[in-house]
């Protein structure tokens, strides 16, 4: 039997679960700490004790985190980045970060550079690479004390040589400079790819610190098993890859909670509401997987083209602050957040929160119920009715058909959810509070192939089939169950500049990890 540890490090809570095959042995919820590590350590000790398993028997640890998304949304812990584009004289009218919210561009430092270089669609150079310009930028990088750079060249998805040469020039002049190349991150579509590369660069030192903290916390708890981090599409990436590409974890939080909800209930089609301390994420589950958003998704106000679940958030959670009278209520969007344990009335504080209402209504037993015993029942009912309306609105938005789908309520704040939302039944699975960590523990294994095929001697269909089977083999080698494999990305980019009708094929397949079916 495979013992897996799932951890979810959120902005407010750090959750941990231990799964034995499909069985949840134990789940715990702790507060996220400033240093991340001590919160994880606390959760680890608690869950190991509760499950009563030997540390040496834990086979693998999976961590999901919203740490990097939150950093961008809250504009904190982001490093200044030299954003360098190679493409002049083209592209001049829309400089790097042109469509970013001003406050985010400012935090990332507003160091925008455009130089001659880049490729045409057929591989010709738009202009010769401006090597002197790069050396000038290197001097500025040193003078300004910038530690990371993001380089984007026009048409780098078909030829990444110029980005690589630019990186080498910068790193020769600025030893220790971290450089992110746009060709490592995205696809055709300069602005979106460039923005992703810049965001990624701004997160590198936070990624390094965070991954080190994850590793230290596991080691500190005596766990020697390998650990992985979950990414946007619900699959796992190795820890060393997260240090280089933190941006790929952006939407893993909602993905994990939705997959966790499906796993815990056995329901494949549903609306999932994940009620946390500050916000509620609402998304739709189709055949056990989160419905994907369309082509472009905003992250912290920036347009990106990542593959992400279609989730939206409303400002409602366990810590949401309530003010006003019963016929003039204000619910949120402000929340006491992680200070719930000291500021909510049931914990002896002076702020009325949604959690206090749930306790007053007898829906939850948290803190000291006597502190809310004197509340006007009409007021409590009015607040609960309003919460019900907010959730109904959110659920209606996610609903794509009139079919009466169930609603699955997960997350620590799901005590707020009524038993029915509109005409829909609400399911609250066992371990609902730690669905995120469960989702991380059951994350999928992927297999990926990206290489150049020649269509001179083979048909396009044969090449795609070959790439598919190579990706499948990679996934199976990494521990995926063959029957569960499914293609989630398949793309070919014809490389007009190479002879022999060359095309770059990218295929990604995902499947369930072995040991989940027992």
């Amino acid at each position: 039997m495979v013992l897996r540890l799932g951890i979810d490090v959120g902005g407010t809570n750090t959750d941990a679960v231990i799964l034995d095959g499909r069985k949840v042995l134990a789940g715990v919820k702790c507060t996220t700490t400033e240093d991340v590590m001590s919160g994880i350590s606390e959760a680890l000790e608690a869950v190991l004790e509760k499950a009563g398993v030997e540390r040496a028997n834990v086979d693998v640890a999976m961590i999901g985190t919203t740490h990097f998304t939150n950093a961008v949304i809250e504009r904190r812990a982001l490093d200044p980045v030299a954003a360098i584009r190679l493409g002049l004289p083209a592209t001049a009218c829309l400089p790097p970060m042109v469509d970013w919210p001003e406050d985010l561009a400012e935090v990332v430092g507003d160091h925008r550079y455009m130089l001659h270089g880049g490729y045409e669609f057929d591989g010709r150079e738009i202009a010769e690479l401006d090597r002197d310009g790069l050396r000038r930028i290197a001097d500025e990088i040193v003078a300004k004390g910038i530690r990371t750079a993001a380089i984007s060249s026009v048409f780098s998805p078909i030829n990444r040589e110029m980005e690589e040469e630019a990186r080498d020039i910068l790193q020769a002049a600025v030893p220790g400079l971290s450089v992110v190349l746009s060709s490592e991150i995205g696809r055709i579509g300069l602005l979106e790819r460039e923005s992703a590369a810049i965001m990624n660069a701004s997160l590198l030192s936070l990624a390094d610190k965070t991954i080190t903290a994850f590793g230290d916390a596991l080691k500190g708890a005596g766990l020697t098993c390998p650990f992985y981090v979950t990414q946007n599409d619900g699959t796992l990436m190795a820890a060393h890859m997260v240090r280089r590409f933190p941006v790929l974890t952006f939407a893993s939080g909602p993905t994990n909670s939705m997959r966790g909800a499906a796993f815990l209930t056995g329901v494949k089609d549903a609306i999932v509401i994940d009620i946390g301390g500050t916000t509620t994420d609402v998304g739709s589950l189709q055949k056990g997987f989160p419905r994907q958003a369309s082509t472009v998704v905003d992250v912290g106000g920036v347009r990106t083209n990542f593959r992400m679940p279609d989730v939206f958030a409303i400002g409602l959670g366990g810590g949401t602050i309530i003010s006003g009278e019963k016929d003039d209520l204000t619910i949120g969007p402000k929340s006491v957040g992680y200070r719930l344990g000291s500021e909510a009335r049931v914990f002896g504080g002076g702020t009325l929160t949604c959690t206090d209402i749930a306790v007053a209504a007898g829906e939850a037993e948290i803190g000291d119920p006597s502190k809310v015993a004197d509340m006007d029942p009409d007021f409590v009912a009015a607040v609960r009715a309003r919460i019900g309306e907010m959730l109904e609105d959110a659920v209606e938005r996610s609903r794509v058909s009139p079919e009466p789908l169930p609603v699955i309520a997960v997350g620590g704040g799901s005590i707020l959810a009524p038993d029915r939302i509109g005409d829909l039944e609400v399911l609250r699975p066992e371990n609902f509070a730690v669905a995120n960590a469960v989702g991380a523990a059951i994350a999928q294994i992927s297999g990926e192939v990206e290489r150049i095929f020649s269509l001179a001697s083979q048909s396009r269909e044969d090449c795609l089939a070959q790439a598919d089977s190579e990706a499948r083999a990679t996934a199976i080698n990494a521990g995926a169950v063959a029957e569960t494999l499914d293609v989630i990305e398949r793309e070919d980019v014809p490389l007009a500049y190479l002879p022999g009708n060359a095309t770059r094929i990218h295929v990604k397949v995902v499947g369930d990890m072995e040991g989940l079916d027992a």
Binding site: G87, L88, P89, E120, I126, L191, I488
Partner: protein
């Protein structure tokens, strides 16, 4: 009636342009950003005037981008190309332009003229030459009214420009296309210089208002948490074609165009059916699994994301994406024998005689197949 478009209105123009762009014409997002930054920089709105208010002797000039949309989203413009094309055309004609025209009420070209108008301060005329997007420059109502595309100026990001004079609009397309490929697959052009009188005879009227209305409909429906498909069908007199997921996408940048086809697998009511969607920059032909056409150029095949309801362009098509396809009838001029010769299925090499999508929708092939 004239109206003004400011930076805040550009989002609805871009949305409407993306929908009427039938997948092609490039992502209007780029043109929207260019127009917004120019409007903000110059602190100006763009005035859009009715064709009837333009004097007969005014010089009206369309400016637009030419090339493959897959190139335009990657190699963004320098920003000076359109001005250099317009300026060179004015020098050649020995006369300044009085009005700008949007040649194509879809895709990037629905937003680019706003950037040029904001830069020059010239008003824009409420109309266009296509009522949609088409891949080739002779495919405009102006050709049907014997208005010449030349003299025309084509300009690139590097500062090159050239004046073309041609014996026909088809020859203009051929020459300009090969120059576009040499210029890196995308170029800006000023062409079809015409008098106010010619413009009134040849332009499709009110199409910029339509772009704005379609954009507003998409915005308000999405705000009300509804998929905009139904509202657009009733606003534009359209036909629901299918809801389906992309299962294979094949594309090439050939001869200055993004050409290719997408295989789609039906969803919801179309479960069990398969479709083939062919494009040359724009979606031009939709067939079912046995090759029966469901919609054919010059009728419009518009694509919305099946989930989010935003317009989808050919270059953003990708494996797994759900689409809701909607057919709109083309302007009657396009369904005439001359119009079909210019932009019908035969011109693009599709083995179908044109049939209006209303007729195709009533044929037995539309009956849902359950498996």
């Amino acid at each position: 009636m004239s109206f003004h478009i400011g930076p805040e209105d550009m989002e609805e123009i871009a949305l409407g342009g993306a929908f009427l762009g039938t997948g092609g014409g490039g992502d209007p997002y780029i043109g929207r950003l260019m127009a917004q930054s120019m409007m903000r920089k110059n602190g100006t709105d763009v005035e859009v005037v009715a064709p009837a208010d333009v004097p007969d002797d005014a010089l009206c000039v369309p400016v637009c981008m030419m090339g493959a949309p897959t190139v335009m989203v990657e190699k963004l413009p320098n920003g000076d190309e359109a001005l250099s094309a317009l300026g060179a055309l004015e020098d050649y004609l020995g006369r300044k332009a009085d009005y700008l025209i949007c040649i194509e009420a879809g895709g990037l070209n629905s937003t680019i003229p706003f950037a040029v108008a904001a830069h020059t301060g010239l008003p824009l005329i409420d109309g266009d030459g296509m009522g949609r997007a088409f891949p080739e420059l002779q495919m405009v109502s102006l050709t049907l009214h014997d208005i010449a595309a030349t003299p025309m100026v084509i300009a690139d990001d590097k500062g090159n420009n050239g004046v073309l004079n041609a014996i026909s609009n088809l020859w203009t397309e051929r020459m300009a296309r090969s120059v576009t490929v040499e210029m890196g697959g995308a170029a800006l052009v000023a062409l079809y210089p015409m008098s106010g009188a010619q413009m009134k005879a040849g332009l499709l009227r009110g199409t910029l208002s339509l772009v704005r209305d379609v954009g507003r409909t998409i915005q308000s429906e999405r705000k009300a948490n509804r998929h905009p498909g139904d509202a657009l069908i009733s606003r534009c007199g359209g036909v629901a074609l299918c809801t389906a997921r992309v299962v294979d996408i094949e594309r090439r940048t050939i001869g200055g165009f993004a050409r290719g086809k997408a295989r789609l697998r039906g969803l919801d009511a179309d479960q069990g059916r398969e479709f083939l969607l062919s494009f040359q920059n724009e979606f031009l032909c939709l067939e079912d699994a046995d090759g029966t056409p469901l919609a054919l150029t010059p009728d419009l095949i518009c694509a919305l994301d099946a989930d989010g309801g935003l317009p989808v362009t050919t270059e953003s098509l990708r494996f797994g994406l759900g689409l809701r396809l909607i057919g709109l009838p083309a302007d009657p001029q396009w369904r005439s024998p001359e119009g079909l010769k210019l932009a019908g299925p035969g011109y693009f090499g599709y083995p179908h005689a044109f049939q209006p999508l209303e007729t195709l929708a009533e044929s037995p092939a539309r009956e849902p197949v359950f498996t």
